[in-house]
Symmetry: C2
Amino acid sequence: MPHSSPESNNSHRTMQVVNHVRALIENGTLQPGDKIPPERDLARSLKISRASLRTGIGYLAAMGVMKIRHGVGTFVADGPPDLGKASLSLIGALHGFQSWQMFEARILLESNLAALAAERGKEEHHAAMAEEVAEMFAAIKSPIEYLIHDVMFHRIIAQASGNPILAAIMETVTSSMYDKRRKTVERATDLRESAEMHREIYRAIRTRNTGEARRLMDEHLRMAQTAQGMERPMERKAGAPTRSSKPAKSRAAKP
Amino acid sequence: MPHSSPESNNSHRTMQVVNHVRALIENGTLQPGDKIPPERDLARSLKISRASLRTGIGYLAAMGVMKIRHGVGTFVADGPPDLGKASLSLIGALHGFQSWQMFEARILLESNLAALAAERGKEEHHAAMAEEVAEMFAAIKSPIEYLIHDVMFHRIIAQASGNPILAAIMETVTSSMYDKRRKTVERATDLRESAEMHREIYRAIRTRNTGEARRLMDEHLRMAQTAQGMERPMERKAGAPTRSSKPAKSRAAKP
DNA sequence: CGATTTTAGAGGTCAGACCACTTCAAGTAT
DNA sequence: ATACTTGAAGTGGTCTGACCTCTAAAATCG
């Protein structure tokens, strides 16, 4: 399974490291959670300076492919894939992303993910979801703990969708909203009602009612959005937009 | 407007650089396309070594926030935002993303984007789209050039959707498929038919027929998917999945 | 046996020299 | 004059090697 991928930018040595790791990952030598050799050793074996090696590793870490632990070692990332949690936040600042847009993206992604989960979810997923729902009801008194299971529930749905790419995207988007979500949950919204909704969503997915799953998830998230006061603002008639996003001058496709 | 964002990993100095840049971006001092000071100067002004500064800059570059040009300088990224074009490719290799999953994600995103574009698109977008459609018809004989306008057309729709986040995600996904798309287009599919479909999509969006826009985009992309033979494979009854994606737990690394 | 200290190993930072690429202006040939 | 060549300045890329900090596990002490 080839892939080429231009990887336009970056310097020679950096790419050398990235490609080396990529190769190891693709041929199965490196699996999620594995530890890679110490920088000094790896650098020597690749015939490059430790500094350059570090640049490459840093590049991979920035994209969430590697996890560096000071004093311990460098590992291949495991757990739910994401497109680099920090990126959305930075890119967002750069292009002036709005909260309601974040929510819109999340609603769109998750409602469709729920539909896919209803269509393809397996027993193991149903079981895991049921458990999280139960935990939510059990944690109605503890907002912090409730949120953990809430996140888990949505994550399981993403996995159940059978499309890890969409799951990764969702993970990236939701993790960017984690801070605000936490604050909201802490000032005690009606967790009981929230738990009920999750249960309904679970049921729709279990009974493979795709349409209902999508609808319920959509409703659930819109409610959460309202609770955080992040609805899309009124349409402005004219005048300067909050942040112009002009058609972007030429930008010819790559050669 | 604060933002916190945990940014779990990464070392002190790296974050120092990242946050410094982030601050400059957020307070408007740094805008897309701007050039930042030379490494030597910036390093001195931040009171850190050039090596550390470079680590931070590299981190930002990996996420697509900065663009480094050897011998020229380092700039804030401009053009359509993306979540780090390389990341999806790497993460994909790591988690065994399939081509059909990529396409499914793209179809889901773009069909909804088309619907949003139909709902919110402005005259400027309509005009730009019309132009690209015209260019496509004009380039029916030149696959390479056709593709450029094809990409542009979809990109404009993404902009017209009014949600830069979804647009950025789409950009990330589609750019990962660029290679294969190019190969396909080059072995001359019926470009005329393709152009016709784009025109229909354009019309649906212009007339603000959201449902039709979504349907047509969906149809258009499924057709493209079939042309590249990337449909979702038959459902397997039982046995081991191509790549298990179990709930993911511990992290253990064995020395 | 349990708490504390030591130590080995891994990543983080630093300093300064030198290499490679881009630009662009001065110089030279036609 | 015009066009090609050359060279210097500026900027990112890489290298070396020493030293710092953090973690985890082994050694030691109470």
